[in-house]
């Protein structure tokens, strides 16, 4: 009974979304206030229906209703409760419902925080979001119903894929979807602006917080996926340039360009066409990503059980939504004009270069990901494009971009001189060069790649300091603190995010260039030496978990005879997935290095095992840097101009928002 209600609610949501697409849009065109005012109500009603439907699916999982086919294939009697809840998004149908729910949620958020927008604008935004919802809910209702029932109810389910039974994997999809779906908001704003013919600085100011929040979510979502791969796959790797990984990385690159482009449009009224195009392309790539993952067109470890019928639906949806938006763009963009001018050396120029470089980087990943498909489609056989290609091509392409991060913040808006900029920059470059020479040497061996990355990272931090010092100049310490408190949060957000990126770069470069590892065959009692640490293998025991059996290893780590830590790598075999043993690496994380141990295979029957031991310097900096980047993003949108608006909304005052000059 309940699953059928869930199905009904989805159809209801579909109808509500359809009305939400049409009514407010027509209302905006005709000036019909009553129709426009329906938009928030429809958004709320749609969200409520979806939330209940989602709740019902979750209920089926928690209470083991295996008559629901989707629950039977993704859950089991022994699955712990937290994984029963996350298993709802463990497969195609449920993850799609989650996506749709989050889309509805963003719609409600837009409806709630748009009091300071002209009602025609917010109506159009909600209408476009309604259209996107119609597409996705339709996809669900017509091809991927999570509430399908099984005629013969099994006694136990097939259990959740063991790869997903991990804390990191619980949060990875929701965070990713919060990001992807958030870009539908930026897209909707861009469309609303094109439809209404009003593409100005205020549109950018409204759009910016939504886009930045979505960017933060996507950043965290991608990083969490890497974190999981690092811990779960046993080989210390965290990025494989798999097509599905690329499908999340490409929108991230364009979204980064978008948030920078929005900044220029807001402050200077320039880059309007760029910003609209980036908003369209970012959203387009999220749908392309969905297509790649769910259609079976590419081979990937991440792909859901694929079905070409679903592929056709998504392809048609992609064609309609993005095709329409690009046609609208081609029609309206020529009338947009260029906005404020700027001289050939200025911050605008640097940011334009930034846009171009990010688009080029994204295109490079795109070409590499699509190339096997292109070759196959042309009948030229099958080929593979993997990490060796991407590492050779992408890293050099990123270098000019990263250097922009050092230069940009120190170049003035509109009109700057090379001489002026260089005067501010040269201390930064000097320190960067010094670090690039010295730091790799302290790690053992000088290498070009780590040196370049160190130069860039140090430069970014240096730029922050050079930009900070004049702003907190004061006769005494108290004065400096007082000035620090008054720093513009938007400006601070930029630097914090950049510094976060710098820290991430160090983590990546150092771990990749200076890691050491050993594969060894060890019997209980054997000791392995690596990077100044002694790893003593104590043996492996059989241990039983909730829905798995584990071979539980113990390794003691000592430095200079003193015990540093005890690690417990495991090899788990889940009851319902006997053919798929899962390695659970055990990691000792510390500021300057990770020590990583994973179990290979047993050797014979004497209790000896193959064990892999890693020393990874600065690995934690990768994750820490990403978190700092996200904090930077949050800071950027917690700027007082946005806070003032929220306060105004809460206190009910209806003042006209003032034009903000930065």
């Amino acid at each position: 009974m309940l699953p059928e209600i869930g199905q009904f609610l989805m159809v209801l949501a579909f109808c509500l979304a359809a009305i939400q697409s049409i009514l407010p849009l027509l209302g905006a065109q005709r000036g019909q206030l009553s129709w426009m005012r329906m938009a928030p109500n429809l958004a709320w009603a749609q969200f409520a229906a979806l939330a209940f439907a989602y709740g019902l699916l979750t209920y089926a999982f928690i209470y083991h209703d295996f008559s629901v086919a989707y629950a039977a294939s993704n859950s089991s009697i022994n699955l712990p409760i937290e994984y029963r809840i996350s298993a709802v998004w463990g497969g195609h149908e449920g993850s799609l419902l989650l996506w749709i729910l989050i889309l509805g949620g963003w719609g409600v958020a837009v409806a709630s925080f748009s009091n300071n927008l002209p009602v025609a604008m917010s109506s159009r935004v909600l209408a476009v979001m309604g259209m996107v919802s119609v597409g996705f809910i339709g996809f669900m209702v017509f091809t991927s119903n999570p509430f399908d029932r099984l005629m013969m109810v099994p006694l136990d389910g097939n259990d959740l894929n063991p790869m997903l039974q991990d804390p990191g994997m619980i949060f990875h999809p929701p965070l990713l979807y919060m990001g992807y779906v958030g870009f539908a908001v930026a897209f909707a704003f861009a469309m609303a602006a094109l439809i209404g013919g009003r593409l100005d600085a205020s549109w950018a100011r409204w759009s910016r917080p939504w886009t930045t929040v979505a960017w933060v979510f996507l950043t965290l979502g991608i990083a969490l996926g890497s974190w999981w791969a690092y811990a779960e796959l046993g080989w210390g790797g965290w990025w494989f340039w798999d097509p599905v990984e690329n499908a999340s990385f490409m929108p991230w690159l364009l979204a980064t360009a978008l948030i920078h482009s929005l900044a220029v449009t807001e402050k200077r009224g320039a880059f309007r066409s760029w910003t609209v195009m980036l908003a369209i392309l970012t959203f387009a790539l999220t749908i392309v990503g969905a297509f790649l993952v769910r259609s079976g067109v590419i081979t990937s470890v991440h792909a859901f059980a694929t079905d070409p019928t679903r592929g056709v639906y998504i392809l048609v949806f992609l064609a309609v939504v993005i095709g329409a938006s690009l046609i609208l763009y081609a029609w309206r963009a020529p009338k947009v004009g260029m906005g404020g001018g700027f001289s050939s050396w200025s911050r605008e120029t640097v940011l334009l270069a930034n846009n171009v470089l990010l688009v080029v980087a994204c295109s490079a990943v795109f070409i590499g990901t699509m190339y096997p498909l292109i070759i196959d489609a042309l009948g030229m056989g099958k080929m593979s494009v993997g990490p060796p290609y991407f590492n050779s091509v992408f890293v050099p392409l990123m270098v000019p971009l990263l250097i922009m991060m050092i230069i940009g913040p120190l170049v003035s808006w509109k009109n700057a001189t090379f001489k002026g900029s260089f005067e501010r920059l040269y201390p930064v470059l000097a320190v960067g060069l010094l670090a690039a020479v010295v730091w790799p040497l302290t790690m053992g061996e000088w290498g070009l790649i780590p040196a370049v990355m160190i130069f860039i990272a140090t430069g970014i931090v240096g730029t922050f300091i050079v930009d900070l010092l004049p702003r907190i100049k004061a006769p005494d310490f108290a004065g400096r603190i007082a000035k620090m408190k008054k720093l513009n949060t938007s400006w601070l957000g930029m630097h914090v995010a950049h510094v976060g990126m710098a820290i991430t770069i160090i983590g990546m470069a150092m771990a990749a260039s200076y890691q050491t590892e050993k594969d060894v065959r060890v019997a209980p009692g054997d000791v392995v030496e690596l990077a100044g640490y002694s790893f003593t293998f104590k043996g492996v025991q059989e241990v039983r978990g909730a829905n798995y059996s584990s071979l539980y290893g113990t390794v003691e780590i000592r430095e200079n005879g003193e015990l540093v830590t005890i690690l417990n790598p495991e090899k788990r075999t889940y009851d319902k997935h006997q053919g798929m043993p899962m390695t659970q690496a055990s990691i000792d994380r510390s500021v300057f290095r990770d020590l990583y141990v994973s179990l290979g295979d047993p050797v014979g029957t004497t209790g000896a095992w193959i064990v892999r031991v890693y020393y990874k310097p600065f690995m934690t900096w990768l994750w820490t840097g990403v978190i700092i980047m996200s904090v930077g993003g949050i800071l950027a949108i917690s700027d007082r101009r946005y806070r003032v608006k929220i306060k105004r909304r809460l206190t009910g005052r209806k003042e006209e928002p003032q034009a903000v000059v930065d």
Binding site: M338, G341, G368, Y371, M383, G386, P387, N415, R471, D601
Partner: protein, 159 residues
């Protein structure tokens, strides 16, 4: 019965019996450092053809075990990277290489991104030139604009 799912059913519980089979992670002896480096590099360059997009470095599939074994044998016999790649391509086609060869069918792949970079640079140059022309008569010189902007930046919070 899903055709596509049914096609590849390599049972991983089958204990590999080839003399050349190497389980993942088994410590190996090499004659010299170059051979070891070559082996480790090639592990990441060769694709496991039965897997869902994995190199033979980490895969547990029996075929991956066999291919690692062949790789080890060839490295031990002094084969170079080109020989090893030829061996694999002769049997499995270009599909087995994760780093595509540089030939007419892949010019676009290898050169494309850098061509785009060049194109981007040109677009940038043209764009910046046309925008700087919009910059109408400013009463301030470039240096003065810069000074004023920096001054305004730091005075911002006083509002």
């Amino acid at each position: 019965m899903k055709v596509i799912v049914g096609i590849f059913m390599v049972m991983s519980f089958l204990i590999s019996s080839s003399a050349y089979a190497l389980k993942a992670g088994v410590p190996l002896e090499f004659e010299n450092a170059e051979q070891e480096a070559l082996y480790n590099d090639m592990l990441h360059e060769l694709r496991c053809t039965v897997c869902q997009n994995q190199s033979i470095a980490g895969s547990n599939a029996p075929l991956a075990d066999d291919l690692r074994g062949h790789l080890y044998k060839m490295v031990g016999e002094g084969a170079g990277e080109a020989d090893i790649k030829k061996f694999m391509v002769d049997r499995y086609g270009e599909f087995v290489l994760y780093r595509p060869n540089f030939d007419p069918s892949t010019y676009l792949l290898w050169v494309g991104p850098f061509l785009l970079l060049l194109l981007g640079g040109i677009v940038l140059r043209l764009n910046v030139r046309s925008r700087s022309k919009i910059n109408s008569s400013s009463d301030l010189t470039a240096e003065e604009s810069e000074l004023l902007a920096n001054h305004l930046d730091s005075k911002e919070e006083k509002k």
